[in-house]
């Protein structure tokens, strides 16, 4: 058995560098702190690659299946006799795959930011936060139990909050960070309640015992029903709410577009490649439980994912801010991954969707990070992120142009680039399990190709915009990550995922089903062609189409008014209709009662203090009259 205990270093190295940069960063030269952070991440990345190699090719399999390995474990706190939270490292195909994704993208972003963030105030702070995020995300993917996952889940949330609000003097960034935190926190409430129910029913937090298909945990709680669904199903649906919040699924997606207020490398790392897929990872992590004891939960996952991907794709077609287009595109692609796990079942070829979803998660991380970093290079060059300020940039930014084009072709599902394979597997899985979802996803594939090429043509072709100063190509620190990711986007599809990452650890026969692949290719090319016609040159077609579908267009342009609903709930309901009355009630009812008691005491003593006048005549008068009154009373009482 290979010893994997060194893997605990993978998350510990970034947190160590976080502390160094955080405590001493303001004293060192900015670039030094950047280099320190990058070095730390490189070490973590090398260890991760080594771990992946060891795990996939040098570890004993049992019955040909990859096993879950508990590489490191220590008790963190004891709750009850059965429930205890551990901190540790769990290695299995999906966590090892995530290690690669997280460290690769994080390293690329570290390098890229050396150029992108150059000269920014708070350069050291930026690198400290990046390290903090990397630590939290690695802790999340390596979690041995659901509570450890929740702990790191909160930590990635706060790192995301800190990085979105990086430009803290900008009010829009501050409110975006607040929104992101509060919306995901609300979702985490569901997650926490889910954990409480789940752990109570199964008596464990531990992933290995939870997901053991022959274990007792998986069978417990499925008998008791509430509103037609078993307790297990309810707990898993609650857990999924947490996942949906972090993965920006409808209707908890509202924080993601605003999160683009953060620096662009952050958007690439956190809000495209790693943190936002945590929800998919969560479902994948608990997949055997979902698939065996709560298939209804998976149905919910599939429909939520499918609707979100359609919803986001429609909005993405109308946005002008290039980062927001990419944000909605991310939401839409995560919807695909959710569909993948949602339509999947456990074991064998039934588990195709699971594999496809993980595959797509991997390829998406590469090409979406590339798109964001490319967008960063464009923003860096033209100092704007609105596409109406752009056009004809292909002449000025050749490297960015080529890499961006590769990413667009990949996401559009052009054959033999990575996303073609992964998306195709998802569509195949959907095709076999749910035809409705299949057709929705096919349509979304077309929309995806359309909005991506709308973006591409608007930026790099279309009219020649006059720029105040000539846009120049990004420095080498920025273009190297772009080129690396472009290569990854092209070739990641040839990684034999079906042999490595499957629902039950056993290899799986997956091949391209042309009945699904051909329509998806056609739809993709159609989307590209429409975008070509509309946006290659400056035309009036977009306005005409926009006005002929006015209602849909205006709705989509305003993101179907979900931001307004959010504002209504927070500002109106929580602030004005609950909190204000509570505060008023506290001052004017509860506190007034207390003051009232004091006032009555005062008033009574004020009234009766006249009795203590010190005048003998008055005392004598009171004494005599009281005596007479009492006398009369007694005579009356006794005479009856």
């Amino acid at each position: 058995m290979t010893d994997f205990s060194y893997t605990i270093l993978i998350p510990l190295i970034p947190i160590f560098f976080f502390l160094i940069i955080g405590l001493t960063g303001h004293k060192m030269k900015p670039i030094i702190s950047g280099l320190i952070g990058t070095t730390g991440l490189s070490i973590a990345a090398i260890l991760s690659y080594f771990t992946a190699y060891q795990y996939f090719f040098n570890t004993e399999k049992i019955d040909g299946a990859y096993q879950k390995i508990l590489a490191f474990n220590t008790v963190w706190i004891n709750f009850t006799d059965k429930l205890h939270v551990d901190m540790g490292v769990l290695l299995d195909p999906i966590s090892v795959m995530m290690l690669i994704v997280v460290t690769t993208i994080s390293l690329m972003v570290h390098i890229y930011s050396l150029g992108y963030m150059k000269g920014e105030k708070g350069f050291a702070r930026f690198y400290a936060f990046l390290s903090l995020f990397s630590f939290s995300m690695l802790g999340l993917v390596l979690a041995t139990n659901i509570f450890q996952m929740y702990i790191f889940w909160e930590l990635v949330g706060v790192s995301s909050f800190l990085l979105i609000g990086f430009y803290y003097e900008k009010p829009s960034a501050v409110s975006a960070s607040k929104k992101a935190f509060i919306v995901t926190r609300f979702a985490d409430l569901g997650f926490l309640i889910g954990i409480l129910i789940l752990s109570f029913n199964t008596g464990t937090f531990d992933f290995i015992s939870l997901t053991d298909i022959h274990g007792t945990a998986i069978a417990s709680g499925s008998g008791i029903a509430f509103m037609g669904l078993s307790t297990m199903t309810w707990s898993l649906i609650f857990v999924f709410i947490g996942g949906a919040g972090k993965s920006a699924m409808f209707p908890l997606h509202i924080w993601l577009p605003d999160a683009m207020e953060g620096p662009t490398p952050v958007s690439a790392l956190i809000h495209a490649a790693t943190m936002v897929v945590a929800g998919v990872y969560l479902v994948a992590r608990l997949f055997p439980v979902y698939a065996i004891s709560a298939p209804d939960g998976l149905t919910v996952v599939a429909y939520v994912g499918s609707f979100s991907s359609l919803f986001a794709a429609v909005i993405a077609c109308t946005q002008y801010d290039i980062k927001r287009v990419l944000a909605f595109s991310t939401m839409s692609q995560i919807g695909y991954m959710m569909v993948g796990v949602g339509v999947s079942r456990y074991g064998g070829h039934e588990g195709l969707g699971f594999m496809a979803s993980m595959f797509h998660l991997f390829t998406h991380a590469m090409f979406k990070a590339l798109l964001f970093l490319g967008a960063g290079a464009i923003i860096h060059a033209v100092h704007s992120n609105v596409m109406t300020d752009m056009g004809g940039l292909r002449k000025y930014l050749p490297i960015t142009h080529i890499t961006f084009l590769i990413a667009c072709l990949t996401i559009a599902g052009v054959p033999f680039l990575s996303a073609f394979f992964s998306k195709d597997e998802i569509l195949t899985a959907a095709f076999h399990h749910n035809k409705l979802i299949f057709f929705v996803q096919l349509f979304v594939a077309g929309l995806t190709a359309f909005y991506m090429f709308r973006l591409y043509f608007r930026i790099f072709w279309n009219r020649d915009t006059h720029y105040h100063h000539t846009p120049h190509e990004a420095p080498l620190t920025m273009s190297i990550p772009l080129m690396f990711l472009a290569v990854a986007s092209i070739f990641a599809g040839y990684i034999p995922f079906s042999k490595l990452v499957t629902s039950d650890g056993l290899p799986l026969e997956a091949h391209i089903e042309w009945i699904v692949a051909i329509p998806s290719i056609i739809v993709g090319l159609l989307g590209i062609s429409i975008a070509f016609v509309m946006y290659k040159k400056e035309t009036t077609i977009p306005q005409k189409i926009g006005s002929s579908f006015k209602l849909l267009y205006v709705g989509a342009f305003n993101k179907f008014y979900f931001d307004e609903i959010y504002l209504f709930v927070t500002k109106k309901i929580i602030f004005n209709y609950i909190s204000r009355p509570v505060a008023w009630f506290d001052r004017h009812v509860v506190d007034a009662t207390m003051d009232g008691i004091a006032w009555i005491t005062n008033a009574v003593s004020f009234r009766i203090k006249g009795l203590q006048s010190g005048q003998v005549q008055q005392y004598a008068f009171v004494f005599v009259s009281s005596a007479i009154l009492l006398g009369i009373l007694f005579i009356y009482l006794f005479s009856i």
Binding site: H26, V75, E169, L196, D586
Partner: protein, 500 residues
């Protein structure tokens, strides 16, 4: 001299030394040294406690000492500690130590200020070591009365009103408590024999259920008022808002914990049947506290008010968990007391420091302070994150222990109130982020803020001490949680035996 009595004696000696010195600098130094020794002593106490336990001493209370004080009524000075008291003593010494440094620059009657402050702390220490409910009550009053002077003289705003209100409400609580404690005393020997105030002795007998029904509400509410039990919490916002920095720190950080501590050490431990029977009423009240306090905090504009309401919410959770009466939840309650004590002390310290610079506590008049005072800003963010329960800081550990513990009850009622209490984590996030956003981020609203300085050395000592304690508990909670959990066992045993 036994180690526990030292906790009362050192403050007294410190006070005597302060009386003798002349200038403010010496006063401060002596206070700092006295409380520094106290802090080291607390650290030593933790060490000695573990040494004793590891040596196999499984007595319920360690380091016991018993002196007859007033024989006719069988009043003793009995002291002794278990893991819970040790934890509370450690909390108190950290907060008092930080409090001395936070009030380094008190310029109005500094000598008298430090005397009252340290006297107050000796009352608190005495309370936590006492095992005789009469002595305990005495120390309780020693802790509450200097509060009146501290707020009335060194306070701000409508300080006479606030001081009067706080003292009267707490005295009202004391009156109830006195009756309750005497009720326990008169029933402490139902089978004949001498009456006693000793907690351990009383715990051995079974107080008649009629007496329990009568005296449980009195004792619980009496302590509950100090622990900001809804609807008797309104002294807290006014009192805290007017109190000087160190007093707010001590009051919210430690004094309010006397309520929670007393509620389970006396009310629930000694009157378990009535506690089981009547807990539902108080569970409803405390779950209201939790949510209500948090909503109340959302709309406040004054930093201290926000924090006072937040304390209502967090202390409500303490009493809530105590009433759940199982080991995990009660463990969480103690952890929450410690965690809240530390983070609220940190909050009040920082608010005092910020107020000392900006001369306003209204959040809508501030903004962008992070830029001019990064140290204080970062500390404030850390305090906020601790308050909203970020893992790695103490608040998370405490809250999660409480939630998991409360959820172990199988009936619908406990489940529903638990979920109500859990929902407070979202509301807390809302008001914390609102404050942090308005106070520290955004553009600077007032030009003269640009000239403000960041924290001085003594302020840094105060802040860093508290932050380190918060982080230590948050990162490695196991020893503390086990220390508390083991000491809870006798209490839990008694609670389960009493269930017929």
């Amino acid at each position: 001299m036994d180690i526990l009595s030292l906790f009362v004696i050192i403050p007294v000696i410190t006070v005597l030394a302060i009386i003798l010195v002349k200038n403010p600098m010496q006063t401060r130094l002596i206070s700092a040294i006295g409380m520094g020794i106290q802090l080291l002593l607390a650290a030593y106490l933790i060490y000695a406690y573990f040494a004793e336990r590891n040596a196999g001493n499984m007595d319920e209370m360690l380091f016991m000492k018993d002196i007859i004080w007033y024989e006719a009524l069988n009043i003793h000075y009995t002291v002794g500690v278990d893991g819970i008291s040790v934890a509370m003593i450690a909390l108190t010494s950290v907060v008092v130590f930080a409090g001395v440094f936070a009030s380094w620059k008190v310029d109005f009657l500094p000598k008298e200020f430090f005397i009252s402050l340290i006297l107050l702390s000796s009352g608190v220490f005495g309370f936590f070591i006492s095992l005789d409910i009469f002595t305990m009550f005495l120390f309780y009053e020693v802790a509450v009365i200097p509060m009146y002077l501290l707020i009335g003289i060194w306070g701000s705003g409508p300080k006479e009103y606030a001081a009067m209100k706080l003292t009267l409400m707490l005295m009202g609580g004391s009156a109830l408590l006195m009756v309750g404690l005497l009720g326990i005393y008169t029933n402490s020997a139902p089978n004949g024999g001498p009456l006693t105030f000793n907690i351990l002795e009383i715990a051995k007998v079974h107080i008649p259920i009629e007496a329990q029904r009568m005296f449980f509400p009195m004792t619980f509410v009496g302590f509950g008022i100090l622990g900001a039990l809804f609807p008797f919490h309104t002294w807290s916002p006014d009192g805290h808002a007017s109190a000087p920095t160190a007093v707010s720190m001590l009051h919210a950080g430690v004094l309010m914990k006397l309520g929670g501590y007393g509620a389970f050490r006396v009310a629930i431990f000694l009157l378990p049947d009535a506690a089981h029977e009547l807990s539902w009423i108080f569970i409803i009240l405390t779950s209201i506290s939790v949510v209500y306090g948090a909503f109340g905090a959302i709309v406040q504009k004054d930093l201290k008010y926000i924090n006072a309401y937040s304390s209502v919410s967090h202390c409500g959770l303490v009493l809530f968990a105590v009433l759940m009466m199982n080991k995990t939840a009660m463990d969480g309650a103690i952890l929450q007391m410690i965690s809240h004590g530390l983070m609220t002390a940190l909050f009040f310290a920082l608010i005092g420091m910020i107020y000392g610079r900006t001369h306003t506590r209204l959040i809508n008049e501030m903004g962008g302070l992070m830029k001019v005072m990064p140290f204080l800003g970062v500390a404030y963010v850390i305090a906020g994150l601790a308050s909203l329960g970020l893992p790695g800081l103490s608040g998370f550990v405490a809250e999660m222990t409480i939630f998991v513990g409360s959820f172990q009850h199988v009936d619908t009622f406990h489940r529903v109130v638990t979920i109500v209490a859990v929902s407070s984590i979202v509301i807390t996030a809302v008001y914390i982020l609102r404050v942090v956003g308005a106070l520290l981020f955004g553009p600077i609203k007032n030009d003269h803020f640009l000239q403000l300085e960041d924290a001085k050395w003594y302020e840094k000592i105060s802040t860093v001490t508290l932050i380190m304690a918060i982080a230590a508990i948050g990162i490695a909670p196991l020893w503390l949680s086990n220390m508390i959990g083991d000491s809870l066992q006798p209490i839990i045993d008694k609670l389960t035996i009493m269930i017929p």
